[in-house]
C-alpha cells in the first residue's frame, strides 16, 4: 500500500520503504522527461538551467513537478518562461492540484498542531532542533506556546498554584 502515514509501516504492514523526493538533478531530469524534451534536440543551456531552478524551488516533489509540467505543456511555454511566471506568483502556479494535496490535512489539524506547523513554516525546513520547543516556562513567554510546556513542569506549576 502507498501512504503518507509512516505509522502504517509498523502496523498493519510488516515493513515500509520510504520513497524520498528527487534531488535537484533528478527532479530536473524528471521535468524534462515529462515534457518529452529529452528526446528533443538542442535543449538550450538556458532551458536546462531553468529546469534545475524549478526543480530546486519545488524541492524535488514529484507531484509538484508533474503538475508544473502539465501547466507548461498546456500553455506551450518554455521552461524559462514558466519559471519567470512562477517566481512572480508561485501560489497561482500551484493552483488547485497542489492545494488539494494538503488542504484536507491542514483542515484536520487541531489548534496546537496548526500553531506548531505555522511556526516551523518560517524556519529552515531541515534540522529544526526539537529542543527549540521544549520549554519549561513556555506559557510565561506566550499563551499560544502553552503546548510546548513540559508535562512534568506543568504538574509542578499546578501544585505550586494549589499551595499558594
Amino acid at each position: 500500500m502507498t501512504t503518507r502515514n509512516p505509522n502504517l509501516a509498523f502496523e498493519p504492514a510488516g515493513a515500509g520503504i520510504e520513497v524520498p523526493h528527487f534531488d535537484t538533478q533528478s527532479g530536473s531530469g524528471f521535468l524534462i522527461h515529462l515534457l518529452q524534451l529529452d528526446i528533443a534536440q538542442d535543449l538550450g543551456e538556458n532551458e536546462c538551467r531553468s529546469a534545475m531552478e524549478l526543480a530546486e524551488k519545488l524541492d524535488g516533489h514529484a507531484l509538484a513537478i508533474n503538475t508544473m509540467a502539465g501547466l507548461i505543456h498546456r500553455r506551450q511555454w518554455s521552461i524559462s518562461q514558466f519559471l519567470r511566471a512562477y517566481e512572480k506568483s508561485p501560489q497561482k502556479c500551484h493552483g488547485s492540484a497542489l492545494d488539494a494535496v494538503w488542504r484536507l490535512s491542514f483542515e484536520s489539524l487541531d489548534s496546537d498542531s496548526s500553531m506548531f506547523l505555522g511556526i516551523i513554516s518560517y524556519l529552515m525546513p531541515d534540522a529544526i532542533p526539537q529542543d527549540l520547543f521544549e520549554l519549561e516556562d513556555a506559557s510565561f513567554i506566550h499563551k499560544n506556546l502553552a503546548f510546548c510546556q513540559d508535562e512534568f513542569s506543568c504538574v509542578i506549576h499546578t501544585r505550586i498554584f494549589c499551595y499558594k
Partner: protein, 121 residues
C-alpha cells in the same frame, strides 16, 4: 503524553513532518511550508511569525556579560543561525505583499543578537 508529543504524532501521521530519532531534529518538505503559509489566515501568519521569533530569541545565545567573545557558544549559534536567516528571508518576501508581516520586538532583538555573534553572521 505531553501536548507537544501529541502534536508530533499528529503531524507525523499526516506525513507533514519527519523526526530523526538520533539527532532529535524535525524536518518537513519546503512545499508543505509554502502551502501552509498560503493556507494560514493573515492573523495566524503574523502570530506564528512572531512566535517563531520569540522561540529563536529564547534559544539563541547572548553575549556573556563582561565578555566581547562568543566563541564558546558558536556551536549553539550555528545550530539556529540558518533558521534565523530563513525567518528573515520570509519577512523580506512578505514585505513585498499587500499585507506584509509586522516586525515584532523579539524579531528585531533576535537580529541584533545574531549580528553580535559575528563572525557567524
Amino acid at each position: 503524553m505531553s501536548r507537544l508529543a501529541d502534536v508530533h504524532e499528529s503531524l507525523i501521521s499526516l506525513g507533514l513532518i519527519k523526526r530523526d530519532r538520533t539527532t532529535q531534529e524535525i524536518s518537513l518538505h519546503r512545499l508543505v511550508q509554502t502551502q501552509f503559509r498560503y493556507y494560514m489566515a493573515e492573523v495566524q501568519q503574523q502570530e506564528t511569525f512572531a512566535l517563531a521569533s520569540t522561540l529563536l530569541l529564547a534559544a539563541f545565545p547572548t553575549k556573556p556579560r563582561g565578555s566581547h567573545q562568543m566563541y564558546n557558544v558558536w556551536s549553539i549559534c550555528q545550530r539556529y543561525l540558518q533558521h534565523i536567516l530563513f525567518l528573515m528571508r520570509h519577512y523580506e518576501e512578505a514585505s513585498r505583499k499587500a499585507e506584509p508581516l509586522t516586525p515584532t520586538k523579539d524579531f528585531c532583538t533576535l537580529l541584533v543578537h545574531c549580528l553580535r555573534s559575528e563572525p557567524l553572521c
